[in-house]
Amino acid sequence: MTIKILSLGWGNIQKLHVYFSRFSSTEIVSDLFLEDRDILVLPGVGNFDYLSMVLNKKAMRKKLDKHVNTGGRFIGICSGYQILYESSEESNLPGLGYLKGRVTRLPRLNMGWRDTTAEFKKVYFMNRFAVTQDDLTKIDNYNYFYSYTLEGTRIVSQISNDHLLGMQFHPEISREECSQLIADFIN
């Protein structure tokens, strides 16, 4: 099993590589040649529009669908998590639609360490857009966890089941605080 961090040609993925290497063998990949047991990581620096444009290209989309539909495991971080939803206020292009809900614009940038309803302590957020509790349609068999922005908006900070882990916060910065969550998912 290898953790494969998808590089779309831009963005800060070195930190992710350093972080995920502590859990298992980790590679940065530019295309989706995935084994059944591989875990795909979609990194978190990026604009929804840009991500949608790249990931919804026919060949890439087909590989993503195949991985998800055959029970392959998937970790989405920040905008790499937001793109899993159906749509976003940030873009006219659709998301991947694996999760039901819409990403909306927060009153202002949500940056800093915040508590979540999950078991671990504070985790680090850096996002202007998020899925709020009101914009979410829950799916059975998924666990949902929340966090509040300083303005009091309740956002979905984490969603998971056996195959998918989506995090609005940044695990590569939160590090030890959420290591158990990542280790449990990977193992």
Partner: protein, 238 residues
């Protein structure tokens, strides 16, 4: 609370400290200092590059610095191992910005400068559409630009229009002058209605006067989170 450590760097990327923004003195290797700060529990590191060059063990201020081409090589493999997010304030050269993101920086920002608006707006637009607005910030150096209360709301509107994630007002109490109460008051008013996160350093006197419990902090992020932006001059040990 957000505690931002600001490391002021010379063009050769040495950490320097100044007295009232003059007479810079070498105070250590910036990577070592940032490692110490990063491990000591601060929330974020902000690297600011100044226009100072080292020459014969002294520093000479020069103008028109367009960024250090070796910057990426210097930071690569290092920033990725820091325990905290790292931001850097540079000149709006798009290629430099891309490389800095690639070598692990989380945010790239620009100092606002009159006459450079088009350049900065273009850089923010390109970076925002690729990395997201949270990856950009704009710095307003009050000591350099001036405490123009009348122009504040116009400036904040411009920053919102450009789509920056955060606007940082720095050096309000520069040159040992007291914080400008009118300026801070107006800034606090505008920040409440602003869409972007606003932080400022300085304003200690104003905060002491109005918010006694914050007297130890010289900065307040007006987005609601207390932010302390401490430079090499004021963070413990330096």
């Amino acid at each position: 609370m957000r505690l931002i450590g600001e490391l002021i760097l010379s063009c050769e990327l040495d950490a320097i400290k100044t007295t009232s923004f003059n007479d810079p003195v070498y105070c250590g290797d910036c990577l070592n200092i940032s490692k110490i700060w990063s491990d000591s529990g601060i929330s974020e590191l902000l690297f600011s590059i100044t226009k100072y060059h080292r020459k014969n063990n002294s520093y000479k201020k020069i103008g028109n610095v367009t960024g250090n081409p070796e910057i990426n090589e210097y930071f690569s493999d290092y920033i990725s191992n820091l325990r905290v997010p790292a931001s850097i304030c540079i000149y709006p050269e798009i290629e430099d910005c891309h490389r800095l993101f690639e070598c692990g920086f989380d945010r790239v920002g620009f100092c606002y400068e009159k006459g450079k608006e088009t350049e900065i707006e273009y850089a923010v637009d390109v970076l925002r559409s690729q990395y997201g607005s949270q990856a950009t910030f704009l710095v307003y150096e009050v000591c350099k630009i001036g405490k123009y209360v009348d122009e504040l709301s116009e400036f904040i509107n411009i920053a919102e229009k450009w789509g920056v994630g955060e606007l940082i007002f720095k050096d309000i109490a520069a040159e040992n002058k007291c914080a400008d109460t009118e300026f801070c008051k107006k800034l606090a008013e505008l920040a409440r209605d602003s869409e972007i996160l606003i932080g400022y350093s300085g304003g200690l006197q104003y905060e002491k006067e109005k918010l006694g419990k914050l007297k130890f902090f010289s900065s307040l992020s007006l987005g609601g989170d207390i932010t302390f932006i401490g430079s090499n001059n004021v963070l413990p040990g330096f």
